[in-house]
């Protein structure tokens, strides 16, 4: 039997090979005694956590009480439950009859609690329970209430969350998730509520989630919806990148995955059935966001989780920029700059000493304000443009407004005046992107626009200065090797001994390459990974929260292979391995404008990037009200004329130069030369080694919020503009 235990152990640890698992299945399936051995082992495994925790609870508390770590047979548990009922009845009776009864320990009023397993819980008062560990079954008890009484609200508090219930029946538990962040060794738990009947609200530090019958709510202490959303967005970002890469071979790419995910989440709120399922799968919504129960077919995702996560991210990323004090300072800055420009022009003309003093004072004010500003601008805006005659569901509009601040619905007249509606939307887009994204809505004949009922828009704008700007005098045309082997010259920025970023080199298989800190004078080998490896650098912006990461393979034609293997998870690992050390950097400045048709109804034959990724049904037009094989956005409206997705478009703009990065700006950049120019060599035999990152070949770049890992912008440069 020892071999069988080894197989089970390996299976449970996740180290068993497929052959071993097949062997284990065969033995358990064919031999009754092996099945019993396996079951005994599994039962022991399942009991280990509870038993060990019970022992620890008993040791720390000293004397056992009715909550901590006692193990009773089921019949005793039933007796405890019955005792609770009896005591609760007595307390309720005296409370209702107005007699002066003061129970020794608090009892619940209007509720029954039955422990499942071995929970550690405490009744704080008549409608407040603290659950430290384990699971409880909770149900209302009207037996001691008069018919006109309502069951009082109940609060159950766990270390991660609070559940508020009114007349609901549910199971609530705190459980240990499998993943461990690896950052600390603090025990991580999550709170789950399975609602059997009624409604429960689960609130954690990161938001509230409401649930109804048959829903499973989850709250984690450290992450809750935000982490799910970041993971989904990151995974989707790289799926989309790979698909766009396939569709645009050899061309520059640039897009904002964050913007696309947000807009599709707003549309997803109105999706039902298979349409919603496909959308969530392509958007990589996690398993934890999936619904269970008989409604799961119609509503496969807990969109409230996704919306809460995105809203939390918005607050974290964008609220700083919307801070009233910051906005006031920026406004003042614009005024002061205009004044300074005027004064400088006067100084040139008159050389008046008093004007010079005044200009100097204003310049001082500008510098002082700049120091207080966070050093970057970032904004996000969402809007819902609805045909004025179309009956949208109020719940849909309210949900979008609550989480995405759409401000309700902008009523437009698509059916009779598409041109005016188009202008309104295009003006809105241009205003929200500093004038960089224009004409996002295409021109159309009025006849072709008459069926248009809904347009969802998301606009994102980012502008930030480098924490360590590049010196313009060091930028010049330098060679850039294309993937096909040809070389062109591009304007390339250069910084020797860049000291505030991070650098990391990796082998072809993604393993870390230990770049030496010191080398022998004249050493040429072992400085970089081999030709199939790649390097990463991180360049911080003025803000500590956001940085640019650049990934360059060692071979000019190596980007294709890197793109096949890169995932959000691998990228996070590589980023975490980067080290802060000086490095030389050569980076082309560049500008990219892109325009992608991500999905198109195409007269019944859907095409586009999202369709290729599996989101086909959303673009299928219902025929004669038949939704069997077509889209279902019935969550948006009860109208018989159902909405489908006719077009999903994405326009993006980026400029990178010596000063920083802007989603809209234009700059020309030259190609790189040989490294170490101007960097002094020390005399000793062992000399410090400063690696060089030379992006003189196709590379990937992304703008990323560091604390959450949110990818705001993602792109690649295959061919920067040639220098004149």
């Amino acid at each position: 039997m020892r071999n069988l235990h080894e197989l089970i152990h390996a299976y449970q640890m996740g180290t068993a090979t497929p052959q071993q698992i097949a062997e284990l299945s065969r033995r358990i399936g064919e031999d009754e005694s092996a099945a019993r051995e396996a079951a005994e082992w599994m039962l022991m495994e399942a009991d280990l956590a509870e038993t060990l925790q019970s022992d620890e609870s008993e040791a720390s508390k000293g004397s056992p009480d009715h909550t901590a770590g006692l193990r009773f047979p089921a019949s005793h548990l039933m007796k405890i439950a019955a005792a609770f009922l009896l005591v609760a009845s007595i307390v309720t009776f005296f409370a209702l009859s107005g007699k002066q009864h003061k129970p020794q320990t608090p009892e619940l009023i209007g509720w029954i609690i039955q422990p499942t397993g071995n929970p550690d819980f405490e009744i704080l008062n008549g409608n407040h329970v603290r659950l430290n560990r384990g699971e409880l079954h909770v149900s209302p008890d009207r037996s001691d209430l008069s018919p006109e009484d309502t069951v009082p609200n109940l609060t159950i508090e766990t270390p991660q969350a609070k559940a508020f219930a009114r007349s609901a029946q549910f199971l609530i538990g705190t459980h240990i998730p499998t993943e461990n962040t690896g950052v600390t060794h603090t025990m991580k738990r999550l709170t789950r509520v399975l609602i059997l009947a009624g409604a429960v609200t689960l609130t954690s530090s990161l938001g509230s989630v409401e649930g109804a019958t048959n829903e499973l709510l989850t709250a984690k202490a450290d992450a809750a919806p935000t982490k799910f959303t970041v993971q989904a967005n990151s995974a989707f970002a790289f799926d989309l990148y790979k698909q766009l890469s396939r569709e645009n071979k050899g061309r520059n790419l640039f897009f904002s995955p964050y913007s696309i995910s947000t807009a599709l989440a707003m549309a997803g709120e109105g999706a039902r059935g298979k349409t919603a399922e496909e959308m969530g799968a392509v958007l990589r919504y996690p398993h934890a966001a999936g619904r269970i129960g008989k409604d799961a077919q119609r509503l496969p995702w807990r969109m409230s989780l996704i919306h809460t996560g995105l809203a939390n991210l918005d607050r974290k990323l964008f609220n700083r920029s919307q801070d009233p004090e910051q906005l006031a300072m920026r406004k003042k800055l614009v005024t002061l700059r205009a004044q300074l420009n005027t004064l400088n022009a006067q100084i040139k003309a008159t050389r008046d000493r008093k004007i010079q003093v005044k200009a100097s004072t204003i310049a001082g004010e500008i510098n002082a304000i700049n120091k207080k500003l966070h050093g970057y601008e970032i904004s996000l805006a969402n809007a819902l443009w609805g045909e004025q005659t179309y009956p949208f569901k109020k719940t849909y509009i309210n949900t979008l407004n609550k989480h995405y601040r759409t401000g309700g619905v902008f009523a437009v007249d698509f059916r009779n005046n598409y041109a005016a509606a188009r202008k309104q939307i295009n003006d809105w887009s241009a205003r929200r992107t500093g004038g960089r994204i224009k004409n996002v809505m295409p021109e159309r004949r009025q006849e072709d626009a008459k069926d248009l009922s809904l347009v969802l828009t998301n606009a994102i704008f980012f502008k930030a200065d480098w924490k360590q700007p590049f010196n313009k005098h060091h930028s010049r045309p330098r060679p850039f090797k294309l993937a096909d082997g040809k070389t062109i010259k591009v304007r390339t920025m250069h910084a020797g001994g860049f000291s505030i970023g991070r650098y990391g080199a990796f082998n072809a298989d993604g393993s870390f390459f230990n770049t030496p800190v010191r080398i022998k004078r004249g050493q040429q080998t072992g400085l970089y990974p081999d030709a199939n490896g790649f390097s990463l650098i991180e360049l911080p912006y003025q803000s500590d929260d956001i940085s640019m990461v650049v990934i360059a393979p060692n071979r000019a034609d190596g980007l294709d292979e890197l793109e096949q293997t890169i995932t959000a998870k691998k990228l996070n690992t590589w980023i975490s391995r980067m080290k802060g050390r000086p490095f030389h950097v050569y980076l082309p400045g560049f500008k990219v404008e892109s325009d992608y048709k991500l999905g198109d109804h195409n007269q019944g034959r859907p095409t586009g990037t999202l369709v290729s990724m599996g989101m086909k049904r959303a673009f299928m037009k219902p025929q004669n009200g038949n939704r069997a094989e077509s889209s279902d956005f019935s969550g948006m409206s009860d109208s018989y004329d159902q909405i489908y997705l006719g077009l999903v478009k994405h326009k993006a703009f980026v400029e990178i130069n010596e000063k920083g990065t802007e989603a809209a700006a234009v700059t020309v950049i030259e190609g790189p030369v040989a490294p170490t120019s101007g960097f002094p060599r020390p005399k000793p035999t062992m000399v410090p080694f400063t690696p060089t990152f030379n992006a003189n070949r196709p590379f990937i770049f992304l703008v990323r919020e560091k604390s959450t890992g949110t990818v705001l912008f993602l792109g690649r440069i295959m061919q920067p503009a040639a220098a004149n």
Partner: protein, 178 residues
Amino acid sequence: MTAKPMQTIDFPGLWVNAQPIVRSLILGAIRNLHDAEDILQEVARSAYTSFHRYDPSQPFNTWVMSIARRRIVDHLRSRKAPIAALDEKAIDSLIHAHEKLNDIALARRAALGQCIEELHDRGRTVLTRRYVDNHPVKDIAAELDTSAHAISVLLYKVKSRLAQCIKGKLVTTAEDAR
């Protein structure tokens, strides 16, 4: 809700009794604790909502295990499950074996508690880190300044010892009871 009031009170008591065995079965087959907890909740929900169809002449645990079986198989067939896992014949055998263990599940847990107290400190430490603190094996290895393989072997040896100890205590208890 069509169930009689008495049945809604009965269900929690029956579920309280069945839950440890059902949990063990699901966790044993699924391995991933997060997924297993999801499935356990789903089984609880399904059992509750279809409780009016439960035939009291049949053991409750057998009935609820059949619900668990469907959920386990559905999960293993879904794309969310790992590729290699126990097959359906093995799961059926495990269900049968778990049903037979139901009557002594609580006695086994009590014996486990006693056996844990008899373990040496290092064994308890490793078990606590793995099953209470939920640390990965490599983190435990780093903490104890050894290799991940050594920790895996130690875990196996400790659990084997516990398994033998439990058997011994149950035999002793059975003999005392005669």
